[in-house]
């Protein structure tokens, strides 16, 4: 049975201990060294990366309407029990973090079922389903969580139509999508090196105003032999920072007894991992159109184009990037500058870029050898291209370094443009995401 160490990350937030006592000419005090390790263990506490978002997304109507449900041969409400996939994401998970979902909804609408060839009412009610496949490279765990939204009490499960009804009847919901985190051996299994394939689906008459799936810091555990860790694991038995530094003189490279939770060697290695591996989730997008999606759909209707010159996939009338065009922001990339891409020599502190992985869930349809390209462009000169060369739905991705500026107050506008090599080839795209990735080694 290996020895594990565990750090509880919930509510751990950096406190920025003073650095002056660590500078030259100061007495080597164990408590000051301890503050460095404790601080490293608090860096992960900031993680609330939103990895998927949905709901109305600006649409002026719900997919689930108010129609009379005994509708003959025409389906007017979703079939009860059938999944309608609204989003997919492939996430490189932050160490010690697991997925949680929040949503705000109004009462759910009607569903239908088939009675022979006739659609009839099957009752009001709705569920949002979150399926997460955690994969650590050797183990796979599929977790499914649900948000149940109470049915409308109105006839046919209709929306209330009085002024402001959607706000008066708005409910909020929270659900965890965690893999098994106990005993500590299970926690250690999912603490780092995980990817998650996330699928979000509506079942029944869901009327979701807004939803977000995000990482939340819970706890990190590892064996002693698995160091260096992405957090210092400077802990006592309760997963918190101990009262006293474990060595009398804080000058050893590794702590006595082989515990890598302290000592200069591991302080350096933890800091190295944190400054390379941690970064924001920059963009999540779904083509789901709540107002126009058919109630018979089982997955998001794709945005398509067969244009042979680039067009904005989310607004085809736009044919070129412009800072005046509507786009997504990646300004948060300024929070995670890379030493060898945004350093004071590289960009002279005049701008920043973020190293990232750009992924699209897409395909191209062609009877010949035509190909399609998706371009993520954030300025006249900063962009990257992804080739879509298969007729099969799947994730297509590349890595790049996109201009992001200095953060929230430095605006950016990123467009996803698409084109094909010939008009006989069609590009289809359902979902997109951009997440931080470590800068290239130099």
């Amino acid at each position: 049975m290996p020895n594990y160490k565990k750090r509880v990350l919930a509510d751990a937030l950096p406190t920025n201990p003073p650095l002056a006592p660590l500078t030259g000419g100061q007495p080597a005090r164990a408590d000051r060294v301890a503050s460095v390790f404790a601080e490293q263990d608090r860096v992960l506490g900031h993680g609330r990366r939103i990895v998927a978002a949905g709901g109305l997304q600006g649409a002026d109507a719900f997919q689930v309407g108010d129609d009379f449900p005994e509708s003959g041969v025409t389906q007017v409400h979703p079939l009860a029990g059938v999944n309608r996939i609204v989003d997919r994401k492939r996430i490189t998970l932050t160490p010690g973090h697991y997925l949680r979902a929040v949503a705000i909804c109004v009462p759910s609408g009607m569903t239908q079922k088939l009675d022979g060839s006739i659609y009839v009412a099957a009752g009001a009610g709705g569920t949002i389903k979150f399926q997460a496949e955690y994969d650590n490279g050797s183990d796979v765990e599929t977790v499914t969580s649900y948000i149940e939204v109470a049915p409308s009490i109105n006839e046919y499960g209709a929306e209330s139509e009085y002024a402001g009804a959607s706000f008066a009847e708005l409910t909020r919901h929270v659900v965890d999508i965690f893999p098994p985190l106990a005993p500590v051996s299970e926690l250690a299994k999912w603490s780092e090196g995980c990817t998650v394939d996330l699928t979000i689906a509506y079942i029944g008459g869901v009327r979701c105003v807004d939803l977000a799936v995000f990482e939340t810091p819970v706890a990190f555990a590892s064996t002693l032999t698995a160091a260096p860790w992405p957090t210092s694991l400077y802990v006592n038995g309760a997963g918190q920072a101990p009262d006293n530094y474990p060595a009398k003189y804080p000058v050893s490279a590794t702590n006595k007894g082989g515990d890598p939770g302290s000592g200069t060697d591991y302080a350096i290695e933890v800091a190295r991992r944190q400054c390379l591996e941690l970064g924001p989730f920059l963009l999540t997008a779904s083509a789901w159109n709540e107002a126009t999606e058919s109630v018979a759909s089982t997955e998001t209707t794709a945005i398509t184009t067969n244009s042979t010159s680039f067009i904005d996939l989310w607004r085809p009338g736009v044919t070129a990037w412009s800072e005046n065009a509507a786009g997504w922001t990646i300004s948060a990339g300024g929070n995670a500058p890379g030493h060898n891409t945004s350093g004071p020599l590289e960009l002279r502190d005049c701008d920043r870029v973020v190293t990232c992985k750009v992924s699209v869930y897409a395909k191209r349809e062609s009877n010949a050898a035509g190909t399609a390209t998706v371009r993520a462009q954030v300025s006249g000169y900063s962009m990257t291209d992804i080739a879509i060369a298969s007729n099969a739905w799947g994730w297509y991705e590349t890595e790049g370094a996109l201009q992001c500026g200095f953060g929230a107050e430095d605006p950016t506008s990123l467009l996803l443009l698409g084109k094909t090599t010939d008009t006989g080839t069609t590009l289809h795209i359902r979902y997109a995401q951009i997440q931080y990735s470590a800068p290239p080694e130099s």
């Binding site: 937030l13 506490g45 706000f167 490279a253 200069t264 060697d265 990257t384 790049g400 953060g407 107050e409």
Partner: protein
Amino acid sequence: MTDLDRNSKADTVFLSKRGDGGSDDLSLDISQERTDITFAGTYVHESPSARAAITYPRELSVTFAAQTGDAGILLNHGNAAGTSYTYRMRVNAGALECMENGTLRVSVALPSLILGGAQDYVAHWSTFAIGTSVRSEVMVHCVDTGVFAHGFATHAAPTTNASWDLTIGGYGAGVSAYDVDAIDSVRISQRFHSLTEGREDWITQSTKPTITARLRNPTLPVDTDTLIGLEGGFAGPAYLWAGAASRDNDRRLVGSVINLRPPAQFAISTASYVATPQRFRHLPGSVYVQTREHTWYRPVPPGCNRVWARAHVRLYTLSDPIDVGFRCYTLPGFPYAKEPKQVQAQHFGSTVFLNTSHSTNDGAWVDLGSVVVQPDENGCVLFALAHVLDIGDPNVDDMHVSLRAMQVTPYYEPSDADGFDASP
């Protein structure tokens, strides 16, 4: 004494620029290496050139003049016979061709190329590893017209040989050379340079914007291979560096909380208020209207005390435009159904009015400014993009408002402008 150039960086192995001395200036190395190479009249070379034998990551930049019909090799690292090479940049049939080991990696047509008048170009080719493959990013910029062109490819890693030659203008003894008099500068580097860095170095340097948020510096990742932190070294530098790194790493995970482009255009007008009144409410004590589809419930990282919001909107009308106002609100204590009521509050940032009518694909960014956030027990904040129409205007019923994008990004604004005070 050779002056170090601004474009000489820690990873630069060779940099030369034409000065007043003409083409032979290309042989003067103004990088920190300061190892000049040989000017041979129609080409410039170093034989052999171990320092230029770089596979990846790598950056090659060449600035040159070109017009229609110009062709030849700009830069080459390979054997004297030209049969093997690490990399080759050449102009061929009006395009910049970037090649490795005999294989064309990326070809980019020179933008704005014309006959009868040479124009100045910047060519930037940089590579980095993705797993076992290599990614090439190429940017070509016509200085005279400001037009960019780009090309990308993911391909196999190249190979090299330290005994091969570096040649500016052809290969070997200047075979298949591009007119060396038309080449203005060359840089060879052993690090990936982003397209943005290429632009900052060779085209235009940006001006840093005014930022009130706590800015973090890029942290240098030191590993113990450097002998820092190992037994026998000083303990102090390792702890100081690790502590400083944590301080600068603390908000690396913070991303935007609303980052939306609706999948289609949805317009709001006074007719919407009548047809679907359930979608709208006046914010308490305000003329501003909250819209259902412009309401978001999102987690905010606990170290952040504010968000910066901006929206892209399209207004259109068939009559005279009227005033339309916008605000971004955060709404602590919102009275959710089936929950105990709480004390309600509201915060908003800037108020922005527009009075215009946009064409179909146009619109405008409205900067809604900084808004205070007070996360609830779930760590979440209810956000609203609210609007107000000038109800008293006779043309109000003709006005339509569409949201094209919404961006809300959290940040931490310190109370102490100089210190690193603690998170709230």
